[in-house]
Amino acid sequence: MIQASSQKMALRAEGLWFAYRDTDWILKDVCLSIPNGQITIIMGPSGTGKTTLLKILAGILTPSRGHVEVLNHDITNHSQRSLASLIGYIPQQLGLVRNLTALENVLMGALGRCGSGSALLGLFPGEEVEKANAALDLMGIAHKGTEKVFRLSGGERQRVAIARTLLQHPRVVVADEFVSDLDMALALEILSRIRCAAAQEQITFVMSMHRQGLVREFAENVVTLREGQVAPGFIPVLTQGAAAVEMLQ
């Protein structure tokens, strides 16, 4: 398992190219540097390669060319299991198992640390169960632990997904448009909890988002993608929050 080290830059991507088919490039020579312990938001029109970029940054997809470093470790050819202590990933539809309870879903964040023995029977170490309950508590839904996910509201599911990722103890969390389905008030609450977690746990958050109001409120850095490239005129790490959004308009 890769050990995290303390770095100013949590994540560096150099010369990323990616195509699902032949040379139909989704990403073209993308270079990024994302500072440690901050919230960085990736913006851009639909179909511009944000999801693909995030999956590469999370180590789920391997780039056709180029490489990604997370806290100074080249992750390009590592298995997801070996990256679990470094990177957490929240997809747009959250990736929760609907037929399991909220607590069981959160406990999945500990699977990388648990052997295949008792965890397979659903018996997690008491310490992990305590941490999972604490993560649900941090997200304000400790009372929903025994509820099956398909019975939870959209906002509650969002919080379960974040709690699962927090239990994983990653240094970097990559999240794809994961508050896009929520109304503004709920999105603000969820992102406030993320900001709190980022500060408490010194976690770097990289998220794609399209609502400028939220970006203005929460982004410490903004990167814009256009047609598979970092938009011209922007340096990879942008000026802070509101100023960055002004530049986008």
Binding site: K55, A58, G59, I60, Q80, R81, S82, L83, A84, S85, I87, G88, Y89, I90, P91, Q92, Q93, L94, G95, L96, V97, R98, N99, L100, E104, M108, G109, A110, L111, G112, R113, C114, S116, A119, L120, G122, K148, F150, R151, G154, A161, R164, Q168
Partner: protein, 254 residues
């Protein structure tokens, strides 16, 4: 539009040729068949319920065979279907598992019963293994396809927590597929009760032997009671399935 009409016309022509080859347009044969149906039906009524104690014992054996065979087949089909899941294991391994399942499925349940009668002798044990073998082939294919259709986002999200393949099976594939796993299992149990009622024809135990005797001795009124008994069991099984589905399946999904 013209192409559609042409394809429909060609299909109708092909169907007509096939039906003609099978004697479908031989009106003399069809009328004879209808007459015989009338005679057979009149020979079957009223059903002779005096055979119910004998038929009931044989039916109980059939139900036990079906239940045991279905459960054995289900337990064996799960690991085979997981190995046959192409987005979990390398193509060589998954193709091999799917090939085994296809091979097992190719042999009809009656032939399996004959093979096991040869291996284990006459009686319900052969029938139970025959049902189990067919169930493995059928469920392994259905479950492999089901697992492959698991939402990739869930796999990516749980995979990124560092879950092993076994953990993915336990925490993603099985719970995500729970509804369909149970539904197919219940369907298989219903199917096997119907199918196993003829296994006695080849000496593999159950109701088939009783039916064969009544058929050969032309005791159609007694046969009618046996058929009614099967109908009652299948309807009861249908009701039980509906209750289990209502009780255990997800009732709300978003």
């Amino acid at each position: 539009m013209k192409t559609n009409l042409l394809i429909t016309g060609l299909f109708a022509l092909l169907l007509g040729i096939v039906l003609n080859e099978l004697g479908f347009f031989d009106s003399g044969k069809l009328l004879r068949g209808l007459r015989n149906l009338g005679i057979l039906t009149s020979d079957m009524v009223p059903p002779d319920f005096s055979v119910l104690p004998v038929a009931g014992r044989a039916l109980w054996e059939t139900v036990l065979m079906s239940f045991a065979g279905t459960m054995l087949g289900f337990l064996a089909s799960l690991p085979l279907s997981i190995l046959g899941t192409r987005n979990l294991f390398p193509t060589v391994l998954s193709s091999l598992a799917r090939f085994v399942a296809a091979g097992v499925r190719t042999i009809p349940v009656l032939l399996w019963a004959i093979i096991f009668v040869i291996l284990f002798g006459l009686g319900p044990l052969a029938g139970t293994f025959g049902i189990a073998a067919y169930t493995i082939g059928y469920l392994a294919k259905i479950y492999s396809d089901l697992f492959e259709g698991t939402d990739p986002e869930v796999l990516e999200a749980v995979g990124s927590t560092g879950a092993s393949k076994l953990q993915l099976v336990r925490f993603v594939f099985l719970p995500e597929g729970a509804n369909a796993i149970l539904t197919q299992l219940l369907f298989m149990l219903e199917y096997n009760i119907r199918a196993s009622s003829i296994l006695g024809f080849v000496g593999a135990g159950g109701l088939g032997f009783v039916m064969q005797v009544y058929l050969q001795t032309l005791e159609y009124r007694r046969l009618a009671s046996v058929l009614l008994l099967i109908l009652v069991v299948v309807l009861a099984m249908d009701g039980l399935s509906a209750w289990i589905r209502k009780r255990f399946l997800l009732t709300a999904q978003a």
